[in-house]
Point group: C2
Chain length 445, copies 2
C-alpha cells in the first residue's frame, strides 16, 4: 500500500528482545514515523502467557495469545519467537497476507532460509533479518548491499557472546571452563542450559547465514562443521598466551578452490589481530574482500535493547518500502558454489604433546609429520618448570627439567585436516610420545 500513513505492526514474542522492541515502538513513535514515512502502530503482541508481559510501557490491550488473529490486518510482522515452529508457519502466513517480515531467528533462517526467501519473493514482500547475526551490529545489510559490488574471500566471526565471555575470563583470570561458564550464567551471559552456545550450534547457524551472504550460495547449518569450546582447557588458554595468541570461537566461511566451506572451531588468533581485542561478551565480524580488503564490524551481539536496534532498523526499512514502493534485495544465490567439507580447507595447527624427556624425540616426531607431508613452522620445547615461552621457532632446545616427560608444542604450516588427522594418529603411536594433549587451529592471515 504505497503512500500509507499508518502501518500495523504485529510482534510475535515479547521476551527480552520483544519487550525492548515494543518499548521502542511506543516511546520512539515520532522519530520512527519521521524516518519510515508512516506511523508504525503496534497492532498486536502475541505471547503464550499474557502475564509474562510486565513492562508498564507496553500497552496491555494489544496483547494476545491468538497468532492467526494477530496476523490479520498486519502490514509488518516482527518474528521473535525463535526456533523452527510455529515461527516458520507464521512467517509464511504473514507473507500470504501480504505482510513484510523482520526476524531475528537465526536457527530458522539457517535451516529453512531459501524456502522463506522464495515465499517472500512470491508474495512481493520483504524478509529482513539484521538481528539474526551479531545482535546490534550492522552486518547483514553491509554484506547484502554494501559488498554487492565486491567478492568476499573469507568471513571470520566472533558471533557468540557467551563463549567469547567464557574464553575471555579463562584468559584474563585463569579460570577453568566450568568456572567461567558458571560466572557467565551468574551474570546472565549464559543460559541455564548453555549447550547451544558452548557446543557451537548458535555460531554454526550464524556461520551458515554469513556464508550464504558472502558467497551468494545457499549454505545451511547442516553444511557447517561445528566444534564448540567444551574441550578447551585452562592449560590451552595459558599456552595460547605464551605463544602470542588468544583462543576465540570463530565462525569461518571461506572460498576454497572452486567451492566454499563454513565451520566453527576454537581458533588461536594472533594477539595483534583485530579480532583478538574483542573482549567479554562483544561480537565482531571480520570480512576479507577482494577489493575492500579487511573490514571489521564490532558491537554488542546480544541483549534485548541492543538487538532491538537492529530489529527497529529493519522495520523502518521495510516500512519505507511500503510507503515509497519497491523492495529490499532478494535472496542472492546465483553463484551457487559447491559446498566443500571443512576438511578441504587448509589451516595451520598447533599440536601439544607430552613426550619423553630424552634426546632424539623431536627428530622422531618431526619425521612423523614429514611422512604425512605436514611441514613444521616452529617447535617449542619448554621445560616443565618454565613459565615464560621459549624463543619463537627454537628447535630441539635442550630439556632443562628433571622430570621424565616434557611438553612439545608444534605449529605447522597450513595443512589439510585430513593430513593433520593422519599425522596426529601417527604421532600418537610413537614410543616417545605420551599423549597428544591438544590440537588447535591457528588463524592464518
Amino acid at each position: 500500500m504505497p503512500g500509507a500513513s499508518c502501518l500495523n505492526v504485529t510482534l510475535l514474542g515479547c521476551g527480552v528482545v520483544g519487550s525492548a522492541v515494543a518499548r521502542g515502538l511506543v516511546m520512539q513513535s515520532d522519530a520512527l514515523a519521521a524516518r519510515a514515512g508512516a506511523f508504525l502502530r503496534l497492532h498486536a503482541i502475541v505471547v503464550r502467557d499474557p502475564a509474562e508481559v510486565t513492562d508498564p510501557e507496553i500497552p496491555r490491550d494489544v496483547i494476545s495469545t491468538d497468532a492467526a488473529a494477530a496476523l490479520d490486518g498486519a502490514d509488518l510482522v516482527i518474528e521473535l519467537f525463535g526456533g523452527i515452529e510455529p515461527a516458520r508457519t507464521l512467517i509464511r502466513q504473514a507473507f500470504q497476507n501480504g505482510a513484510s517480515v523482520v526476524t531475528a531467528n537465526k536457527a530458522l533462517l539457517a535451516a529453512h532460509g531459501p524456502e522463506l526467501f522464495e515465499a517472500a519473493d512470491a508474495a512481493g514482500v520483504d524478509l529482513y533479518y539484521e538481528a539474526a547475526v551479531g545482535g546490534a551490529i550492522p552486518i547483514v545489510r553491509p554484506m547484502r548491499e554494501s559488498l554487492a559490488g565486491d567478492n568476499v574471500r573469507r568471513v571470520l566471526g566472533i558471533v557468540n557472546g557467551t563463549t567469547n565471555y567464557v574464553l575471555d575470563r579463562m584468559a584474563a583470570d585463569g579460570l577453568t571452563l566450568a568456572d567461567a561458564v558458571a560466572q557467565a550464567q551468574a551474570l546472565g551471559y549464559a543460559e541455564a542450559d548453555p549447550t547451544a552456545d558452548v557446543e557451537g550450534h548458535d555460531a554454526a547457524a550464524k556461520a551458515a547465514i554469513l556464508a550464504s551472504l558472502a558467497f551468494h550460495t545457499r549454505v545451511s547449518a547442516a553444511d557447517v562443521a561445528c566444534e564448540g569450546i567444551m574441550a578447551v582447557t585452562a592449560e590451552d588458554v595459558a599456552w595460547a598466551a605464551r605463544t602470542g595468541h588468544v583462543i576465540k570461537l570463530l565462525a569461518t566461511a571461506e572460498r576454497v578452490g572452486e567451492g566454499v566451506s563454513a565451520y566453527v572451531h576454537p581458533t588461536l588468533v594472533p594477539a595483534d589481530h583485530q579480532l583478538a581485542s574483542v573482549r567479554g561478551a562483544f561480537n565482531a565480524v571480520f570480512v576479507e574482500a577482494e577489493s575492500a580488503g579487511p573490514l571489521m564490524f564490532f558491537g554488542q551481539g546480544a541483549g534485548g535493547t541492543p538487538t532491538s536496534s537492529a530489529v527497529l532498523g529493519d522495520l523502518v526499512s521495510v516500512a519505507r518500502h511500503r510507503v515509497n514502493g519497491g523492495m529490499g534485495p532478494r535472496e542472492s544465490a546465483a553463484a551457487s558454489w559447491p559446498i566443500l567439507p571443512a576438511s578441504a580447507a587448509t589451516t595451520s595447527f598447533q599440536i601439544r604433546l607430552t613426550v619423553a624427556d630424552r634426546p632424539g624425540v623431536l627428530a622422531q616426531v618431526a619425521g612423523a609429520l614429514a611422512e604425512h607431508g605436514v611441514s613444521i613452522d616452529s617447535v617449542r620445547q619448554p621445560s616443565a618448570r618454565q613459565s615464560a615461552p621459549s624463543p619463537s621457532g627454537a628447535t630441539a632446545a635442550p630439556a632443562t627439567c628433571d622430570t621424565d616427560t616434557t611438553q612439545l608444542l608444534i605449529t605447522t604450516h597450513p595443512a589439510t585436516e585430513a593430513a593433520l588427522t593422519a599425522t596426529v594418529e601417527a604421532v600418537a603411536t610413537l614410543d616417545s610420545v605420551g599423549a597428544v594433549v591438544s590440537v588447535l587451529r591457528v588463524l592464518t592471515t
Copy 2:
C-alpha cells in the same frame, strides 16, 4: 525503467578510484549483473585528457571529454571528479535526465548536500555516497538504514588515513611531524600538498556527513570546528604514551543538550579504547547509539580498489531500484537539531606546562583552575630526567631534577572550551609558569 535488462553507466573521472571502478565493471560484469538484476554497461568515461587513461582493461572507445554528451542516455552516473564544480552541475544534470547518481565526493556533499538530495528527490532518483566517508568501510548505509530505529549519541571517526598514518609513525618511531609527513608522501599515503589532510579539512567534510546522518539534521562543513595535526609535536606524542593514550585526529559529532555539535581535533584516546588500535592508514568509525550501544566499523579509508568496492556496492543498489522499482532512503533531516559551536561541548583536557621547580607551584596552578571552575582529575610532575611516567594521579611529587624548571601535566575533569580557554589564559600569566606547552582534548568514554 523497471524491468530493464541493461543499464547504461557513465563514469565521471578516471583517476585511481575511477580506473578501479571501470575495471570492476568490465571484469566483474557477470557477477554484477546477477546481483543487480541487469547488465551494467559501461556507456561512457569522461576525462579531461584521454591520454591519462592507460589501464589496458578499460575500453578506449567509451572515453570522452564531453560530459554533457556522456550523460545523455545514462541510467546511472558515477561522479568521481571530486571538488565542487563541474561535479555539482553535472550531478544536477544527471538527475534532470532521470539518472541515479553514485558519488564519492565528500567536499560537495558537505557543502551542497541538501540541494542535491532535494534535486534527486524531485527527479525520483537515487543519490548514494558510501565512498564519501571511510573509503571501503560500509558506514553510510549502516547509519542511513541500520540505525534508523535507534538514536545516535556520538560518532567518533578516524576518517583521514593520511593523518592517522602520520600520527602512528610519530608514536611508533618517535618521528617528528615533518618527517612522518615526508614518509607518508614517499609511500603515497599523503599528497604532494598535504594541506587538506593535515589541517583537518578532509576530516571536517566527513564529520559533516556523519553528523547529518547521525542526527537527522543538516550539518555542513562550515558548521564543523576544525583543528588539524600541525601543532602536534613528537613530545606530545611521547607524553600521550606515558599517560596511557595515543593521539588520534578524531572527527566527532555529538548530541549536546538540545543541539548537536561537530568538530575535528587531535584527541588523546585511551590506549584500551577500540579506536586506539586503528593503526597506519586505516580508518574506523565508532558509533555510540542509545539502544545498540557501542559499534565500530573498521577498514581501508582510501585507495582506488578499496574505494571502488563502496562505489560498486552503491551502483548495484541503485541499479536494483531501476530494475525492481522503488528508491533508496531519502535525506533524513526531520530532527533539525540546532547546531551548537564545538565550544558548547564539554571535554576533559590535558594541559602541559613548564613551571618553576620550587615548592608551592602546584598550589598556585591548581588555584587558577579552581577559580575558573575547572576541576582537576590528575596531576603529574615528573622530573626533567624522568622518562617513565609518574604514578597516575600523583600530586605534587617532589621534584628530583637539578634544573630550574620542570613540567606539569594536568588532566581536567570535563569542562567547556570557554572555561578551558579562560583557565589557560590565567595560568599562563602566573609568575611560576614558564609556558603552556600544549593543550589537548582527552576522549571521555
